[in-house]
């Protein structure tokens, strides 16, 4: 008897839940419920910090709580998948790094989504270049000397990355391809391991975040030979850009980025509203300062700019992946 009642009330409860969540949100009074912001990285990581920095002013502007949901795993892919799984409720958005939108379809066989068809870009948030770091004992003093050294002994200079297909790996391969040299890849699990390996002399070089290399440069144990952004980066203004030197083309650029996204099919007015709030938030000097302190430069822009960025990066990294797969 009691078991029956339990089951029936459960049934009633779940229909109620379904009825509520299936209602499409009307753009003019959106949001009508707390907004869930999915992040594919654990608390304390830089995408998480960015999400929390954005979530607070966003909640104020929207008049609804913004709940950061950490769904870490598979290089950020799980966060995107989880956001898409909540599609029906109209209140789930996400913050992600570039990987899940650009290289993931090539690297993860059962991705379960198509970045072009299933994701509605909201806007870029911030970008971060990588620096080419070597141990202080390494002979080359600049990128040109590094490339000259590398072409003199092909395949002998080793570099560390944070895994096959990671940003650090692909950036290094892009660099090597454009400069016409051959480098020796040794994958690690984290930037911490790569840094230790450079300091200990296990590997020669590595592409890493400026903020990761900076303390060791200050301590005199590491050197930064160049940076992958198009213009010098505010955190390390003295490091020369790689573009245009050492045989690299003038438009050489490889950056990591964080962006806000929503599931495809989200009302265009909602996307516009979110992008508008995002622009206001990113214009705040305090936010800019806080982001720069953790190595990220704000990058305002329209949803269409993000769509262009996704398309361009997908093509660029796709070509690099083709090359590395051919090597294997």
């Amino acid at each position: 008897m009691t078991r029956m009642t339990t089951r029936r009330s459960l049934l009633a409860a779940s229909t109620l839940a379904f009825g509520l969540t299936a209602l499409p949100a009307l753009a003019q009074d959106w949001p009508t419920a707390p907004v869930h912001l999915f992040v594919g990285f654990p608390a304390g990581s830089s995408p998480d910090t960015i999400a929390r920095l954005v979530a607070e002013p966003l909640a104020e502007a929207l008049g609804q709580p913004v709940v950061v949901e950490n769904k870490p795993g598979a290089g950020g892919v799980i966060g995107v998948q989880q956001m898409l799984a909540q599609k029906g409720d109209g209140h789930s958005i996400g913050i992600t790094i570039n990987g899940p939108l650009t290289t993931a379809p090539r690297l993860i066989p059962e991705l379960g989504y198509d970045p072009q068809a299933d994701i509605a870009p909201v806007g870029l948030i911030a970008t971060s270049p990588l620096v080419l770091a070597v141990s202080a004992d390494f002979a080359a003093q600049d990128a040109a000397a590094f490339v000259a050294d590398a072409s003199a002994r092909p395949g002998e200079i080793s570099y560390g990355s944070v895994g096959q297909g990671s940003g650090a790996h692909l950036t290094a391969e892009l660099f090597a391809g454009e400069a016409g040299v051959e480098l020796y890849h040794i994958p690690y699990k984290s930037y911490a391991e790569v840094t230790t390996a450079i300091l200990g002399g296990e590997i020669d070089a590595g592409f890493m975040a400026p903020s990761g290399a900076l303390p060791h440069v200050e301590a005199g144990t590491m050197k930064m030979l160049g940076i992958t952004s198009a213009t010098p980066f505010a955190q390390v203004p003295d490091v020369p850009v790689l573009a245009g030197q050492a045989g690299l083309p003038d438009d050489f650029r490889a950056e990591l980025w964080n962006a806000m996204i929503a599931p495809a099919g989200t009302d265009a007015a909602v996307i516009e509203r979110l992008n508008g709030e995002l622009q206001t938030i990113l214009a705040d000097p305090e936010i800019q300062q806080k982001l720069l302190a953790i190595g990220w430069q704000v990058q305002p822009g329209a949803p269409a700019d993000l769509a262009d960025r996704i398309a361009a990066d997908t093509e660029m990294w796709g070509a690099v992946i083709d090359k590395t797969e051919a090597q294997q």
């Binding site: 598979a74 799980i78 096959q164 994958p187 984290s190 230790t196």
Partner: protein
């Protein structure tokens, strides 16, 4: 700044009332959260991290450090009382802690864990203060070949601790190693044994594995048994406090454990897992009553507990002096610093001496708080065992689910707990050792990646394991561990 000046400076930072309160708060919170099954230091810090955005950097770090130690001790409480370890280190504590609790000596087990943790932490702090520079330089000298050789030694040394049948112990280690290969292969990027599940790309969740193997298996086995036996008898104060005999037994293990932990903890990676298992194996080997291990030997708690707490302190060495976090918990701590605009690294001792020394001193104070808070709590924890198991276990099941979910917000992991729990129960029926499975699981991926990386570094030359002095030392130690007992057996056979 000399060490003494630094310590004095650190005292002035750490003794500020607000810092003291955060330290106390962290230790208390950590203990209570850590007692919940599955919520270890990692999840506890993750859950509390958002709070730290709103307080000063010293307060934030001191509180998180308190949570870290508190959660570690809380994990030992759950392991001793209910056999619910969330980490491989606390899995070692269950080996003798849980049998003691079953014999009605939970108070002694908790007291031993408490006092060993405290002693391990204090001695760990001494190591940190006196040898931070040396340990940091050792940590950067360790290459892939050295790690691979060290982990293999750890595995060999520890793989005899579980069962009387060596084949069964080894089989569990190998199953652990196999489960450890699930997920993306670092070297090639190929997904292994994931069967299309993106949730498996980062491997099986360690907490889910531990909770299934230990917690769920134990609950299933105990539902019938516990109600037959009834709750343990009321214990008097005399049973709470260890006999002089016990106290004498734990001194040497604490010293040995602290030394092991202090050294291995400073190496980025799984220093505290290795040192816990090594300490247990060492204590059993030097003990005059090895047959008592696994059936409630206090030395089996004292050694590993002091080892993992001293390792927890020296784990801060690479984090603070190099800015290189050794494990995910340290990465979180580092993240908390960076959010406050502090970049730990080789320059931190010069740039922010207040931070460094304040932290060192507050480690000590935090651990003292932990001791003061928890000694009186031992009685309360023990009385928890008087709650009838039928009231306890449904709550344990729900808490396990939420604890596992808290790690990375994946319902998938709860399904994993159920699957592992079923297998764990069946393994327990045949007296296989789940602790060894966990050890293999944790060390396996590290051995594999470091071995393969070492061969990449040497361009395929296996001599790298003999040419590097550190690696060669571990290889010799490993051979000695295997050959010496064999030689002894042969000699005994002749005699």
């Amino acid at each position: 700044m000399t060490t003494l000046e630094g310590l004095a400076h650190g005292l002035s930072v750490a003794l500020q009332p607000s810092i003291l309160i955060y330290s106390l708060f962290g230790a208390l919170l950590g203990t209570f959260v850590g007692v919940l099954p599955g919520i270890g230091a990692m999840a506890a810090i993750t859950l509390l991290l958002p709070i730290t955005y709103y307080i000063s950097s010293e307060a934030a770090l001191v509180m998180l450090a308190g949570v870290y130690y508190g959660a570690q001790y809380g994990g030992s409480v759950a392991s001793i009382l209910l056999r619910l370890p969330g980490t491989p280190q606390s899995a070692v504590t269950t080996l003798d802690g849980y049998p003691l609790a079953q014999q009605g000596r939970a108070g002694v087990a908790l007291f031993t864990a408490m006092i060993s943790s405290f002693a391990g932490s204090l001695l760990g702090i001494a190591i940190l203060v006196l040898m931070a520079g040396w340990l940091a330089s050792i940590a950067t000298q360790f290459g892939a070949a050295d790690y691979a050789a060290m982990m293999v030694m750890g595995l060999v040394a520890a793989s005899t601790i579980g069962s009387r049948q060596p084949a069964k112990s080894l089989a569990m280690v190998v199953v652990g190693l196999i489960l450890g290969t699930v997920g993306t292969d670092v070297n090639s990027g190929a997904p292994r044994f994931t069967f299309g599940q993106t949730q498996l790309l980062d491997g099986i969740n360690l907490v889910a594995l531990a909770m299934g193997l230990f917690g769920v298996a134990e609950v299933i086995a105990n539902i019938r048994k516990a109600d037959r036996h009834g709750p343990p008898n009321r214990v008097g104060l005399r049973e709470l406090i260890p006999a002089r005999d016990d106290l004498r037994r734990i001194c040497a293990p604490i010293l040995r454990g602290t030394t092991l932990g202090g050294f291995f903890g400073a190496l980025p990676g799984t220093g505290s897992t290795i040192s816990s298992f090594l300490s247990y194996a060492l204590e059993r080997r030097v003990s005059r009553r090895p047959q008592k291990f696994g059936h409630g030997a206090v030395e089996g708690i004292a050694g590993p507990e002091s080892a993992n707490n001293s390792a927890a302190i020296t784990a801060f060495v690479p984090t603070l002096t190099l800015g290189i976090p050794g494990d995910p918990i340290m990465a979180l701590m580092l993240g908390a610093l960076v959010i406050h605009g502090i970049q730990p690294g080789p320059m931190m001792l010069e740039a922010r001496p207040d931070m460094f020394w304040g932290l060192v001193v507050s480690f000590g104070i935090g651990n003292l708080f932990l001791l003061i808070l928890n000694l009186p709590l031992i009685g309360i924890w023990v009385s928890m065992l008087r709650i009838p198991f039928r009231w306890l276990y449904p709550a344990i099941i729900v808490f396990i689910c939420l604890g596992v979910y808290s790690v990375r917000g994946a319902s998938f992991d709860i399904v994993m707990v159920a699957a592992v729990g079923a297998i764990g129960y069946a393994l327990a029926l045949a007296a296989f050792s789940p602790a060894l499975l966990l050890l293999g699981f944790v060390l396996g991926p590290l051995i594999e990646t470091n071995l393969r990386r070492a061969l990449l570094v040497s361009r395929g030359d296996p001599m790298i394991f003999l040419e590097r002095p550190i690696a060669c030392g571990f290889v010799i130690a490993t051979l000695a561990l295997i050959l010496l007992p064999l030689a002894r057996r042969i000699r005994q056979g002749r005699g």
